[in-house]
Amino acid sequence: MRPVRFVHAADLHLDATFGGVDAAQGKVADALARSTLEAFDRVVQLCIDREADFLVIAGDLHNSANHSLRAEFAFQRAMRRLADAGIGAFVVQGNHDPADGWSAGLELPESVVVFPADKVERHEVLRDDELICAVYGWSFPTRHVTKNLSRGFSRGDGDPLAVAVLHTNVGQREGWDNYAPCTVEDLRAAGMDYWALGHIHEAGRISEEPPAVYSGSTQGLNPTEQGPRGCFVVTLDSDGAVEEFFETASIRWRVLEIETSDLTSLDELRGALEEACADTRKDSGDRSTVVKITLVGRSSIHEDLTRAGLVEELLEDLRQEQLDIEPWIWLDVLRNRTRPALDLDEILDEEGLRGDLARLARDLAQDPREADRVVEEILAPVVFPLAVRPELAISGEEAVARALDLCLDLLSREG
């Protein structure tokens, strides 16, 4: 009998909100707005092209908080396509699209199974009226699920092959919300042939026995989600599972740091930036890329870069240039974190004002809590009336270091 073949996708976040990007340009904004939907289209097309027996979606199909009709309609259209092709779909709901979340309640084809939120449910997959596989799943009833849902899974006796679909943080991985936490042992106890997992956006197999796989997000949603994003085509039989990764993202993310210590002029800096863009383009194949660049290092061009508007002009110029080349690159941010070409140790030993300043800053930075307090104290009246409480990427220690650089730079210039 031909092995069971299915596509495992998760964390599609259709019509999602992108984090940490300033897509002021229409072309980029449009592409970003389309990207999650395009990625899903590719998943569906992959099912059709590879003649998959079914599709599993391991949660976070969309962000219900967005109330996006566009996403629900896109899902409805995609499911109709799959139904027309005779391919079923098994969907669990995750923390971003829990069962109690907002939904427009669109009708889906009968071939689509959305697993219930109150228990594990089993569904059979037939080929020529013969049972070839059973699919088990359990949706999130609400956003914050702390219960170990994996313990509710148990393979049926007559299942020729069993696939479990779950949105979970296996092993309580750091950096990710600890929803439906479980362990590999929990998974093993269920006796499944394949665990199709969602929630962690990094793709990869986390367990060989049983095969437990995160397919990752189908489209990178923020600068931390660099590299290829997609889904797996899984071939499953009694000998085990084999996954084949397929990239579905339209746009890649890239975060770059450019060391400027050796650069002596703005021309050289521009050359380095262009080279970084060329390397990025080479890496991303035919995909467009959103790039964030941070200039670092103590450099002689630091003073030039602190001239009002220069970095913005350079960014604007490069943006236009890189947007005109296909596949385009959107230079989202060009952050100047260069430092003046000063010897801090030498200044710390100075008797003058600069020495006093450097020592004061050093003392403050050595007490991170105090440094954080100073920053919080400074920002408190600023943040209070704001409509948002942005998460700052800067620590008190870093703020003090940058402040010292700024002071020393200004004090060391000619009057």
Partner: protein
């Protein structure tokens, strides 16, 4: 290095004034008022930094003459001097320096000298008068520089602090509304408001969908009711329309029947009024046939006329041509000639024979004439040649030439012998010399054999001498006998004889050629005679042939005979044409006659009329008859049509009456079918239809309202389904949050930087009074005789406070004038002491700054200045002898100069 000399070449009121030599330390220049002390103080600065021009508050020191300003400074270092001279010009004027390396650009020398010191700073702290010393505002700059310098910086940290505060303020300020972070916050609020609206739109979708289901069901009911109403309305409308049609048709049928009856009566009346000539119509076929021939008959008659004309012309032409052929020729003569092909061939052959004979004769006669002309030419040339040689008559000339040639040849032979004898003296002489040598040699050597050998050459020499003498005796007599033969008396030279021989040879060749040509001419003349005879014989034969065929012509030339033959052929052709034309005219006349007979037969013309009528009149009569026939046929047709119309109209009237009856019955059936009631009329049906329409309109209005409600819901749901603005808004929101985050970071960094610097400055100023203030305090204390022992200032702001022991600080404006000037002098000197970057050769010039000091203060000031001059050259100008004296008393180590 120090300033050695100050020179005013042309500057203000000074011209060619030099101050010097100056010393490296303290220099006191005494000069009365208006001697030029202030002028020289300014001059030093202008030579160093350039002459000011245009709008400036400072005095320009233009020379009264209007000339350019020129100043000179001489610097000295260990005996080497550099003279810097600046002349007024663009950008302050050009400076040149004369140094040990020759002339160089002045700025290259001056730039390191002025390093770190601007013109303003120099004016404030290096070269100042009493007025500038007391200028508070000028000290602001000094203060700032003092602070930076003492803090080991190039900029005033308070300026930096201000800049940081300004940067922070651009990002955010309490109670402000337009800073960057405020603007971003406002943008974020508006984006979120827009996003909220779209969220509400999405939220409505579900309830809209339910409302739409209800509306859809109601709409279905309304659609059904509307369909029923419309169906009834349509049924009644269709019946009414059908009824109206039937009613209209019935009325139309009745009207048509009446119309047809009237039409029938009109047709009958018309038919009765029309008369027809049946006899004429009976002959119609014959008339039409003859009329159809009319056009052909007219053409035949015209052709007959033309043929008759042509016959007349041809006959006259033929008769004229026959007459031209000569007497005895008639119009029938050409036809009597046998102009067959054989005759023509024979004529051609005979003609060719005559032409060939004539050509041969002409050619031979021409060649004979040419040969004779050539002979005549050769004879003339030969005779001329003979005449030149005087060779006598023609008949003997060849023989005379032969004799003369032999004579010339003999004379040439004789002449040759004589010349050979004259030329043979060399051999006998040579033989004699050889003999003499041999004999002499034999005699000297006493060799008899040699002497005997010398005898043989001697004998040979004698023989050679004697031979020409013998020959000469025989030659002259023969020559004398030969010379008359060639007509000469003396023996000519061999060249002359050779010339005579050549001419004789040419003459002989000409006579030989003449003989040759004479024979050729004679032979050709014989050929010409034979050619002439042959032609005459052929001509006679030709004439005989012409006579045989009667073709003689005046010239009898073959061409003329051929022309006659062509004329004959032409005449015969014309004669035959004339006969043919004559036959054709006859045929046409017969045809015309037949036409006239036919016209009489159909009655177009009577026999009597036909006799006198022309062919044209007959044709006209036939055509008139045809016109009459056509008219009669029309009348007959009209009568027939009217009769037929009357019958048809009667039939139609009957049909229409029948149909109207049937339609009336159908209308009755329709009204019965409509259900409006027994015996109803169309008006009742109309009433029923109006009621049905009213009902349909009400249902329609209800349906429209439902449709509108459904459209509204659909539109809203569609917008929700298709909207992509929320995605864009979320992206925009992300971007704004990102910017706010970055701005907050920037604000945090700038603010922390401001705090750090502020704290550092507070501690710095509190704990460490800058050395420059400390130094100024020391100087001020010395100047005031330690009356004031403390000088302090928050140097970020210029608020110097001086205090005596145990008293509070006083600002400068609360000090006496002299004490304030002491303070300002102390600050300047302290600044100069701490100005590490300034070149030591840059001199300090003070213009009578101690005038307000009493003796104690002056003495103290002199001492301080003297101490200062140990580190930097000082030129102190004064017009007060007491001041000069105070300096002299303080130390002898000074240079005292007098100005003016």
């Amino acid at each position: 290095m120090f300033l050695r000399e100050i020179g005013a070449v042309r500057y203000g009121g000074l011209k060619k004034v030099t101050l010097g030599p100056l010393g490296a330390g303290l220099n006191v220049v005494f000069g009365r008022n208006e001697a030029g002390k202030s002028t020289l103080t300014s001059l030093v600065r202008h030579v160093l930094f350039g002459f000011p021009r245009g709008r400036t508050s400072e005095r320009l020191y233009q020379p009264g003459s209007g000339d350019h300003r020129v100043g000179r400074l001489v610097f000295s270092d260990k005996g080497t001097e550099w003279t810097v001279e600046r002349t007024e010009g663009v950008r302050g004027g050009e400076a040149v320096v004369h140094g040990p390396q020759g002339v160089e650009p002045g700025e290259e020398f001056l730039d390191p000298l002025k390093s770190g010191v601007s013109s303003g700073v120099y004016r404030t702290v290096f070269g100042f008068s009493l007025e500038e010393l007391s200028d508070m505002s000028s000290l602001a700059d000094i203060q700032s520089r003092l602070y930076a310098t003492t803090a080991g910086l190039a900029v005033n940290p308070h300026d930096v602090l201000e800049r940081l505060r300004s940067s922070a303020d651009e990002l955010w300020a309490p109670r402000a509304r337009t800073r960057k972070i405020h603007a971003l916050n406002n943008e974020l609020r508006s984006v979120r408001d827009a996003k909220r609206e779209l969220l509400e739109l999405a939220d409505q979708y579900r309830s809209d969908r339910e409302r739409r289901s209800v509306v859809a069901r109601e709409l279905e009911d309304a659609e059904r009711a509307l369909a029923a109403s419309r169906s009834e309305e349509e049924r009644l409308a269709a019946l009414l329309a059908e009824g109206r049609k039937l009613e209209d048709r019935m009325r139309a049928d009745e009207e048509a029947a009446e119309e047809h009856r009237l039409e029938s009566e009109r047709a009958k009346r018309k038919a009765a009024g029309l008369e027809v000539d049946d006899g004429l119509l009976a002959r119609a076929e014959a008339i039409e046939r003859l009329a159809a021939r009319c056009e052909l008959f007219r053409a035949d008659v015209e052709q007959l006329r033309r043929d008759e004309e042509r016959f007349k012309e041809a006959d006259a032409d033929l008769r004229r041509r026959v007459a031209d052929m000569g007497e005895g020729w008639t119009v029938d003569t050409p036809t009597a000639f046998s102009l067959d092909l054989d005759l023509e061939n024979r004529l051609y052959e005979e003609g060719e024979c005559i032409r060939d004979a004539r050509r041969e004769r002409d050619d031979s006669v021409r060649r004979a004439a040419e040969a004779r002309a050539e002979h005549e030419e050769a004879l003339r040339a030969a005779r001329e040649s003979a005449a030149e040689m005087e060779l006598g008559d023609d008949g003997m000339i060849p023989e005379v030439i032969g004799v003369r040639l032999q004579t010339v040849d003999r004379l040439l032979a004789l002449g040759s012998v004589a010349r050979s004898h004259e030329a043979s003296l060399i051999p006998p002489v040579a033989a004699s010399v050889i003999a003499a040598i041999l004999v002499l040699t034999g005699f000297i050597l006493s060799d008899r054999l040699l002497m005997v050998a010398g005898v043989l050459p001697a004998l040979l020499a004698i023989g050679l001498f004697l031979r020409p003498i013998m020959l000469r005796r025989r030659t002259p007599s023969e020559i004398s006998s030969l010379l008359p033969v060639i007509g000469l008396k003396e023996m000519p030279s061999a060249a002359k004889l050779l010339e005579i021989r050549n001419r004789l040879d040419v003459c002989r060749k000409l006579w030989a050629e003449e003989g040759q040509l004479r024979r050729v001419a004679t032979a050709r003349e014989e050929g010409a005679r034979k050619g002439t005879e042959a032609f005459d014989q052929a001509w006679r034969k030709w004439l005989t042939w012409l006579d045989q065929h009667g073709l003689r012509t005046p010239s009898n030339h073959p061409e003329s005979v051929r022309r006659v033959l062509r004329l004959l052929r032409d005449l015969r052709s014309r004669t035959e044409g004339r006969r043919e034309l004559e036959k054709q005219i006859g045929r046409r006349r017969v045809l015309a006659r037949e036409f006239v007979d036919d016209a009489v037969a159909i009655g177009a013309i009577t026999e009597n009329e036909a006799k006198d009528a022309s062919f044209e009149e007959v044709a006209h009569a036939v055509r008139s008859m045809l016109s009459r026939l056509v008219g009669m046929r029309k009348v007959a047709d009209e009568r027939r049509d009217a009769e037929a119309t009357a019958i048809a109209a009667e039939e139609r009237a009957s049909t229409e009456i029948r149909r109207a009856s049937e339609t009336s019955k159908a209308l009755d059936r329709l009204l019965a079918k409509s259900g409006v009631g027994e015996g109803a009329a169309l008006a009742d049906l109309e009433g029923a239809l109006a009621v049905a329409r009213l009902e349909a309109r009400e249902v329609e209005a209800e349906r429209s309202e439902l449709l509108e409600r459904r459209g509204t819901l659909d539109g809203r749901m569609q917008r929700g389904a298709e909207e992509s603005a929320s995605t864009r808004l979320r992206l925009q929101e992300t971007g704004v949050v990102q910017k706010i985050s970055e701005s907050l970071e920037s604000y945090a960094v700038v603010s922390v930087a401001g705090r750090l610097l502020e704290e550092t400055l507070e501690a710095y100023e509190a704990e460490r009074q800058p050395s420059v203030i400390q130094s100024a305090q020391d100087i001020f204390s010395r100047l005031t005789g330690e009356r004031y022992t403390r000088l302090a200032t928050p140097l970020g702001r210029f608020e110097p406070l001086v205090s005596a022991a145990g008293s509070s600080g006083k600002p400068p404006e609360r000090l006496s004038r002299a004490t304030a000037e002491q303070l300002f002098l102390a600050l300047r000197l302290s600044y100069l002491d701490n100005l590490a970057g300034a070149h030591p050769a840059l001199p300090v010039l003070m213009d009578d700054i101690l005038v307000n000091f009493d003796d104690d203060r002056r003495r103290a000031a002199v001492e301080v200045i003297f101490d200062f001059s140990k580190g930097r050259q000082v030129v102190f100008f004064t017009c007060h002898p007491a001041t000069a004296e105070a300096f002299t008393e303080a130390s002898e180590k000074l240079t005292m100069l007098e100005l003016g």
